[in-house]
Symmetry: C2
Subunit: 437 residues, 2 copies
């Protein structure tokens, strides 16, 4: 032993001695929500090497599982190592060349985010705006496409800030007709609402684990069509540190400009996930284990069954909130299954009620942003927490907290209405089954 060893440095003994031990929470906000325990168990598995045959097999299986989750045949279906926002930036920075025109229809907070990321990529961004709680018609979007002639249409699918989802099913054909690349972020919707990558003609789709997929934030599943891949690969280069003779270098591009990011350079990430296995980042193995498990559980349940589960429990929450005497925000025709915005009664403090729910019942519901700040709470029913017990428990606790805050609520109205809703659903299912026979 070297005589220079010293005793541990002076430090906060409290911090250094306390392992992670978070309080028990039922997370019923707009996400993140509680992770499925099976996902956390998968993430506790020991690591293997970056090129271990088991690791590359897990990467391939993850690609295959996410093809099912995204409903796509896209070869380039993989994970970006970062939060859902990392997925957005990887897609945009890899596709946008400085000066490109990008059209962003904004109907909530995350539309603003797409705009701002596209601006930082050097795009000439054109924005159309819809009032929060509403969406665009295909005609409005086509008109904007004709007016602005964008290279890329970038639109959020479901925006948790307003709880509504922009219908995308008619936009793919519009984009094809006008030779526009169609990018969407489905972080908030995937797994709890229908998302059809191929059938809707989506070229680039990004997501995250922390909503309906039931995992922690930190990995961004994404998929890219052949058109998107062609665009991205036209900007490819190979890092000097691992380059062989003849490989393209940053300074030898033809007409295309180099991708402005190395970390988010999808052409390199494709080569890392593909058969070349060219070294790029060191894959975040534990997050990959988690992302794979999220997809495995969804595929095992059946994607359509998962969407139906979100529809049912989201519906029960919405009806229960109405049964308490509260009003719902947003155009119900376009509301996502997994999150509901409910007006805060005039007589109560929105943050006071949220605080009491958290402190006394261990239940978290969400605040809101921008024009809705202070006006609505956002209550989620998603992923692992899209369950009957979580819906009934949240409604029961909310009733008690609202009553103690002096709001007028219908006694038993939340839970009772939710019970009725579940009973109706069961009856409908029985009827449907008897008709089918």
């Amino acid at each position: 032993m070297n005589q220079n060893i010293r005793s541990p440095r002076p430090r906060s003994a409290l911090i250094a001695s306390q392992p992670i031990n978070p309080p028990a929470r039922l997370l019923m906000g707009p996400g993140p929500i509680n992770a499925d325990p099976r996902v956390l168990r998968a993430m506790s598995a020991q690591l293997v090497g970056q090129y271990d045959p088991s690791m590359t097999a897990y990467m391939n299986e993850t690609m295959s599982l996410y093809r099912e989750v995204f409903h796509t045949e896209n070869e380039q279906t993989l994970l970006i190592d970062g939060t859902s926002r990392a997925g957005i930036e990887a897609a945009l920075v890899s596709m946008i060349e400085p000066g490109d025109r990008v059209l962003v229809p904004v109907f909530g907070r995350f539309g603003h985010l797409l705009r701002e990321i596209a601006e930082r990529c050097g795009a000439e961004v054109h924005v159309i705006e819809a009032e929060w709680g509403t969406v665009f018609t295909p005609e409005q979007i086509e008109r904007a496409i004709i007016e602005t002639r964008p290279k890329i249409l970038a639109v959020v699918h479901g925006d948790t800030s307003t709880t509504v989802a922009q219908p995308l099913d008619e936009l793919g054909a519009l984009c094809r007709a006008h030779d526009v690349i169609f990018y969407t972020d489905v972080t908030a919707s995937l797994g709890g609402n229908t998302v059809e990558t191929d059938a809707w003609g989506l070229d680039a789709v990004t997501a995250g684990l922390q909503k309906c997929l039931g995992g922690p934030s930190g990995s961004a599943p994404a998929t890219f069509s052949a058109r998107a891949v062609e665009l991205i690969d036209s900007r490819k280069s190979i890092e000097a540190g691992i380059r062989s003779a003849g490989d393209p270098v940053l300074s030898s591009f033809g007409s295309a400009t180099p991708i402005r990011s190395n970390y988010f350079d999808l052409s390199m990430i494709f080569d890392y996930w593909g058969p070349k296995r060219l070294n790029h980042h060191t894959e975040a193995t534990t997050m990959l284990y988690g992302a794979r498990e999220c997809a495995r559980l969804l595929v095992d349940e059946g994607i359509e069954n998962a969407v139906e589960r979100h529809r049912m429990h989201g519906g029960a929450m919405l009806e229960g909130l109405r049964g308490l005497g509260l009003s719902i925000f947003g155009d119900s025709r376009y509301k996502m299954n997994n999150v509901t915005a409910v007006y805060i009664p005039d007589s109560v403090s929105g943050d006071g009620v949220r605080g009491e729910l958290l402190d006394d019942f261990g239940i978290e519901i969400g605040t809101s942003f921008g024009p809705l700040h202070g006006k609505v709470w956002r209550i989620g029913t998603m992923g692992y927490n899209a369950r009957k017990d979580t819906v009934l428990t949240t409604l029961a606790a909310l009733e008690q907290v609202l009553r103690r805050a002096g709001a007028h609520v219908t006694p038993g109205g939340g839970v009772g209405t939710a019970y009725d809703f579940y009973a109706d659903q069961a009856t409908e299912a029985e009827l449907a089954a008897s008709v089918a026979l």
Copy 2:
């Protein structure tokens, strides 16, 4: 129930039914290595909300713990949500304005990476190169600073591709004298070799968990001096979706240009980790749990003790390899404690030996890049795997595999020499203790 529910989609029953179950591996390559089981246990904790008091407390504790790990008083000491490469890009893209001159001394693969990331940020990059296995003198670097007048000096500390570390202790004063911002990446060295952020005058330092910190890849601890923060904050803007009246917007910068990335915009990330708690990404909670535990274990052990542990076990591995009759690559004066490059004997296939070690003994050692490809193996002794049992097991297995491959090895020479090395260390420690008395 809705009658549209379908049975699960056709799928690979094998994939969907198999939870994660990686093979047992002893990872003795240049990293990633096996995670400390305590880190994986911390990562299995259930999630809490993004602004839960327990979550913000964990964020603050993480900042505090990493200040000890980095040996710094820097307020801005936090995690970037991505792999270590994400930390590098966040530092560079937030500090480099297009056209800035950046000096990159390159002595291995990761110097090329710094160069290429800086180029993508729009920098005018000047490179000086040293032969792989060697480092630069302070005089060489000062001469290059005087010739190129860079705004930023960007240099890797320890480069696993060559196993040597560039001494940094004299460079901070040079940078101050020439008004240069001093950035370094310590992913490979931190926790296993001395890193003194404040004493060495480092302005921006980035790292990763997957080497001596004993965690999985996917979170990048980083720290920034007041000078670096001033530079970065001069480029600050606030996202439209969460902006209040008077906040700076992307289009209203003064002399500074906007940061080209949203995800890596450190001025925003500072506001998210700081008392303002301005929403940016959704913090990757599970990775934060892991990163906090990595630092907590290091602080608990004592950083200097951890460095000494790496010195001892790295030394035993090196002497053991010599005891087998093998030759070591690189200038031993600058070799990192945690990784050793050893020449592959002429008579054997490098990949064949690695494959047999992996397949038959479950032990992974590393290949190499660039000019060293096919010439050396890289053997790590780091983080959780800087232990006597891992060193002896690896040497014993390597002897057997080399013998079966037809190489000449000294029977028992590896393990025997390592045992002797450990015995000498113990004697030295006893002598030192008796002198101290």
